[in-house]
């Protein structure tokens, strides 16, 4: 599904990613953990195609295709989805209209007709029920005045609507209380299949109790310094990150 080779990326000439190698196969869940400033969110943004980041070395292959030259929307059309750590508030665009535009633009890119309004409504109803989202919420301006938890739930709702091949969840657990965390994790688990893959970026292990990863990677100073199974996340939760830093520096 996703293969990242020796990826270096910088923003304004400041190197942030310094040689990342990662392979994510269909059906897998990978967790990327690490201290603040280690480059986790940068990695997510680079995969999704944020233009401020410049890839200086290495490449990103999605199903064998180098996606580096593709615009963010083209990556989205190929099935990349990023759940934002800080979803942007967009006054004047309703959640429903936003989703309709996103889905129909994606269909257009694939040479398909617009989704019939009836099907769209049905899908919106099903997916919002799955994430226990109030219907009234859908006519509100996108993320405007949403609580932290509402924003994150809305991100997963978008994921459910767009049915991506590769979903990257950037700190989706931050700002969620335990009930919201459970709803969000349930949503992600329902969307998981043998044909898609999920990368969960998080500081804490608690989300990983609900979305159980096949692999856990620790990012430090722009590199993956340790990889393991779900057990590694528990170890990090118990011992913190200092021992990893010491191990790297030793």
């Amino acid at each position: 599904m996703l293969k990242i080779n020796n990826l270096h990326a910088s923003v304004e000439d400041k190197g942030i990613l310094k040689g990342i190698d990662l392979e994510v196969k269909a059906g897998e869940v990978h967790a990327i953990m690490g201290p603040n400033g280690s480059g986790k969110s940068t990695l997510a943004s680079v995969i999704a195609g944020k233009e401020e980041y410049e890839v200086t070395e290495g490449n990103i292959l999605l199903e064998g295709e180098d996606i580096e030259e593709l615009a963010a929307e083209e990556r989205a059309h190929k099935g990349v989805f990023l759940s934002f750590q800080y979803p942007v508030e967009i006054p004047g665009v309703s959640v429903t209209n936003f989703m309709k535009t996103a889905i129909n633009e994606t269909r257009k890119a694939k040479g398909l007709e617009d989704m019939p309004a009836k099907d769209m409504l049905k899908m919106i109803r099903e997916k919002s029920e799955m994430l226990e989202i109030d219907r009234k919420f859908l006519s509100r301006s996108l993320n405007e005045g949403f609580s932290g938890g509402e924003k994150k739930r809305n991100e997963i709702f978008q994921m459910a609507m767009l049915e991506p091949k590769l979903a990257i969840l950037d700190e989706t657990d931050s700002g969620l209380d335990i009930d919201a965390l459970r709803i969000v994790a349930n949503g992600v688990n329902k969307l998981k299949s043998k044909d898609n893959a999920v990368i969960v970026i998080t500081h804490y292990q608690r989300l990983l109790d609900y979305i159980v990863p096949d692999y856990v990677h620790v990012l430090h100073n722009g590199k993956i310094v340790k990889s393991g199974t779900a057990a590694l996340a528990h170890e990090l939760e118990a011992k913190g990150y200092d021992w990893i830093k010491e191990e790297v520096n030793a």
Partner: protein, 437 residues
């Protein structure tokens, strides 16, 4: 010959076409003298600092079109809000088109200024209202001097006019260059409600200059909704002078949608002569190329307990230029005034510019007045967010621009107008997406 001289010397020829013994003609004679003294405004005048008329005054305009032209409804239908039943007052090259119009005298008068100026039954209204609030500046005086045709609307008291009234001025390119001076009068009596849609549309690339004057009187508890759709081609220029006089508890709203034209200047003045008056003026301006749109507004708060709301949004691309000059005067007597003014702008291109200037003159001490101007660019993080969901750059940009301006549409009460405006905006932004509200 300079346009000014040409106009002044045409006045005698004009006098052969109108009744020179009427009291209105005394007003015209006075007005041509004022125009002769004042002339066209220049950039030396504070109110015209950022708008030069030079480029539009240079053409050799025909002042009285010689030829008449006809239009088939099917060819111009798209310029009408045709989805709803309306009264229509339609002009072609300044001449009334009975064929395209639908006027009425059934309880209300929706007809022609030429009829109102000549028939005795309208004399009282003309005496009481004609040229009573238009200021004595050069442009208004020029229009007054040549005032002969336009829309005349009189709604007697307690009438809820169910059908909107559309006023459309077409120019067909019959003349190499054409100057039009429509004169409209709208009188809405006590407790009545009317909705009016106005549009100027040139059908060819020949230059057109329109210098229009509209006087609106909203009497006690009257409601007036006025929509101006300015989406003309890039050889047509418009100077729109609209003056609104309000009596107590009346509500007047003017929405101005400026999407096209070479140069547009909107002089929009509200005078509040009574208590508990509400005046609203809102606008969306989306232009590009070398287009220029200037909104010059005035609200004169004269009596206590009144409100005014101004909300103008502007989006400027290419080398287009915008001006917003909003003046709010609160007289000493006008305590408890609530006056709000906002002008928000987005510059898409490095070459586009906007000059925005709020002017507040407050002589009362117990008032709430606010104003705010912003000039910005599109939010890049919002762009990435939309694009990461599969919305291409152009569409994402359009969606953000529409979102930026669409609260202006909240107060548009006719859904078909709202619909039309969103379609024009989508076309203007070069996208084919529906902006649901």
């Amino acid at each position: 010959m300079e346009l000014k001289e040409k106009l002044v010397s045409s006045f005698m020829a004009f006098e052969n076409t109108v009744d020179v013994d009427s009291p209105v003609h005394d007003i015209r004679t006075e007005a041509i003298k004022t125009f002769e003294t004042e002339g066209f405004p220049s950039k030396r005048q504070e109110a015209w600092k950022y708008t030069s008329l030079n480029s539009v005054l240079k053409h050799d305009y025909s002042v009285f079109p010689k030829h008449e032209n006809a239009l088939e409804y099917k060819d111009v239908k798209k310029y009408f809000i045709h989805e709803i039943d309306c009264y229509k007052i339609i002009f072609i090259d300044g001449k009334y088109s009975s064929h395209l119009s639908q006027t009425t005298h059934d309880g209300i008068d929706v007809c022609l200024m030429s009829a109102a100026l000549s028939k005795p039954k309208y004399r009282l209204i003309i005496e009481n209202y004609f040229n009573k609030i238009a200021p004595k500046d050069g442009l208004s005086s020029l229009n007054t001097a040549f005032s002969a045709e336009g829309a005349y609307i009189h709604i007697p008291k307690n009438k809820l006019v169910a059908k909107p009234i559309q006023i459309i001025h077409f120019s067909t390119g019959n003349e190499a260059a054409l100057m039009l001076q429509p004169r409209n009068l709208v009188v809405v009596d006590e407790n009545s409600h009317v909705q009016i849609i106005e549009r100027h549309q040139s059908l060819t690339d020949n230059p057109v200059l329109t210098n229009s004057v509209t006087e609106i009187f909203a009497n006690k508890r009257a409601i007036v909704d006025f929509y101006k759709i300015q989406n003309d081609n890039e050889n047509a220029s418009l100077i729109d002078n609209t003056f609104v006089n309000q009596k107590q508890e009346s509500l007047a709203k003017v929405h101005t949608f400026s999407f096209g034209g070479k140069l547009i200047r909107n002089n929009l003045n509200f005078y509040q002569n009574g208590e508990r008056i509400d005046s609203t003026m809102k606008g969306i301006t989306i232009i590009g190329n070398k287009q220029h749109v200037d909104h010059n507004t005035l609200v004169h708060h004269i009596e206590p307990n009144c409100e005014s709301h101004q909300d103008y949004k502007g989006i400027f691309d290419d080398s287009s230029t915008g001006v917003f000059n909003g003046k709010v005067v609160v007289e000493k007597l006008a305590q408890k005034t609530n006056a709000f003014q906002a002008n928000n702008n987005i510059l898409i291109s490095d070459k586009a510019s906007i000059n925005t200037k709020p002017q507040l003159e407050i002589f009362a001490d117990d008032v709430k007045c606010s104003h705010g101007c912003t000039i910005g660019q599109l939010d890049e993080s919002a762009m990435f967010y939309l694009r990461s969901r599969g919305i291409p750059e152009k569409e994402a940009r359009a969606l953000l621009m529409f979102a930026f301006s669409n609260n202006v549409l909240d107060s548009v009460k006719i859904p078909e107008i709202k619909n039309r405006i969103t379609k024009i905006i989508a076309k203007k932004l070069g996208v084919n997406i529906g902006f649901d509200l």
